[in-house]
Symmetry: C2
Subunit: 69 residues, 2 copies
């Protein structure tokens, strides 16, 4: 397992967290997603490498912006 850390801007509440979690969870190989609106942190636990592009696109799809932390 590997962990990948991102910072997400724009999340304000649990619904926002759920939106991000829902989109990021769809990425192949992702085993767990931890997300906090309060801190803006997004931690992805995956069985292998996860492409930055896929993460940024998933967060964008949810309506927010992410950068690699």
């Amino acid at each position: 397992m590997a962990e990948f850390e991102y910072t997400v801007t724009g999340m304000t509440c649990g619904h926002c967290e759920a939106s991000v979690r829902g989109e990021v969870s769809k990425i192949a190989g992702v085993q767990d997603v931890r997300v906090s609106a309060a801190s803006g942190s997004l931690t992805i636990v995956a069985s292998g490498e996860v492409a930055d592009d896929a993460v940024l696109a998933a967060v964008d799809e949810a309506g927010y912006s992410a950068v690699r932390a």
Copy 2:
């Protein structure tokens, strides 16, 4: 048509607005629901009277608190 105004606390984003709108829209007689997280306003357009209890319960179900404005 009659309009009923409430103030809702705790909404932070469009997801919150959608949650409130979804629950309040289920109340019998409700024709339109306008809700703003920015101002905390909830306006209900209904074909007749809408019981305060029903509105407060619907907003509570969505996870927020309302008072008659």
